[in-house]
């Protein structure tokens, strides 16, 4: 139960962490308490950042660039292998590439916010490139997902796909955080929908891949629905990331200092 506190923001833990842990230790923990703590962590993640005027995506920008490079390597290695010989190993490489590229995109947005003023134009271009790579990886992922895998491979597939579905939920939360954080700068309401769906849609993609592994007949019958979801997800992700990069490029990018 104590580990749940790490779901709260670091600054929140610094202020309330000790007494919160003392409270958890004093009373018996129920399932409701766990659920309530999770709810509280979600609330703290959103509101604590808003009132502290902190950027919820304070990720080192260098880490983002490295993540993009690793993601590209994964795609370059995995894509031809998947085309030549479909298998679970290459599948995992490609599904690992996509979240890495997404993390890279967010981190690159940080660069656009001015953490590295000398590279102001480059991150924007890299962001667009990362979107292209994400699209390629998404197509390769969908094309090479195993139709049915037995035994240990099925368990591994389900495990990793469930992890990535959770990643989609995290992605939706980050989008929501950014919308709240940017509240002082009015944003089109459509961006909220596209931002949230880019995470939810990802979770649905992963859920459909899990279902495909367990019972491909069901996914075949729902292929139209899943196909529409993928198109919607890709569209929302493109719209959100490109617009958000443009928004930051336009409003937050400091001009290079001249000597």
């Amino acid at each position: 139960m104590k580990w749940l506190i790490y779901l709260y923001p670091k600054a929140w833990r610094k202020r309330y962490g000790d007494e919160f842990l003392a409270l958890l230790e004093e009373q018996p923990t129920t399932v409701w308490d766990i659920f309530d703590t999770l709810r509280g962590a979600l609330d703290a993640r959103i509101t604590f950042y808003r009132k502290a005027n902190m950027n919820p995506l304070k990720t080192p920008s260098i880490l983002g660039i490295l993540a993009a490079i690793i993601g590209v390597i994964f795609l370059v290695i995995a894509f031809p292998l998947a085309v030549i010989d479909e298998g679970a190993g290459e599948f995992f490489l490609m599904i690992a590439a996509l979240p890495i590229l997404t993390v890279a995109t967010y981190s690159l947005h940080q660069m656009v916010k001015g953490q590295l003023p000398r590279l102001q134009r480059l991150p924007f271009s890299l962001t667009l490139g990362a979107i292209g790579l994400a699209l390629l990886g998404g197509w390769a992922l969908y094309a090479s997902a195993p139709n049915s895998v037995d035994g240990d491979d099925a368990q591994r597939s389900i495990f990793w796909l469930a992890v990535l579905a959770g990643f989609g939920i995290w992605l939706a939360l980050k989008h929501l955080q950014l919308m709240v954080y940017q509240k002082q700068n009015p944003l089109p309401k459509g961006l909220l929908v596209t931002g949230i769906y880019s995470g939810v849609g990802w979770a649905i993609v992963m859920a459909s891949a899990i279902l495909n592994t367990v019972n491909s007949d069901v996914t075949d019958s729902l292929s139209g629905v899943f196909g529409i979801n993928i198109l919607l997800w890709l569209g929302c992700q493109i719209i959100w990331m490109v617009w958000f990069a443009h928004f930051n490029f336009k409003t937050h990018l400091p001009r290079p200092q001249t000597a």
């Binding site: 000790d18 007494e19 842990l21 003392a22 409270l23 308490d33 309530d36 509280g40 703290a44």
Partner: protein, 111 residues
């Protein structure tokens, strides 16, 4: 702040915390027990500290120094005034509702 309703699901817990602290400074676990005794509601830890954070941010309660990890809180002067306003409003609502319900019951008893 003008209205607890701005806090959504934390509005009721926040009011209960203020009422609990009106009886004297308390730490979190004591608040939970006290609120359960007078309101019949047991606050979860996430809800409790979500409300405490909002109350503290708005200057309605303040933390007291403590030697152990359990940190007691107390009402601030602004918190006392705010609690008084909220309870006055609720009292007026209760009076109106009671009077109307009484009229309704009387009218129904006459039929």
């Amino acid at each position: 702040m003008s209205n607890l309703t701005e806090w959504g699901r934390f509005s009721e817990p926040a009011l209960y915390i203020l009422m609990s602290l009106a009886a004297g400074p308390k730490h979190g676990y004591a608040m939970i027990d006290d609120i359960e005794s007078f309101a019949g509601m047991r606050l979860g830890p996430g809800t409790l500290y979500g409300a405490i954070g909002r109350l503290e941010e708005n200057g309605l309660i303040e933390a007291l120094p403590s030697d152990d990890r359990r940190r007691p809180y107390q009402l601030t002067p602004a918190g006392r005034e705010f609690l008084g306003e909220q309870l006055t409003t609720m009292q007026r609502i209760i009076q109106i509702g009671t009077a109307r319900l009484g009229n309704l019951l009387q009218a129904g008893g006459g039929n």
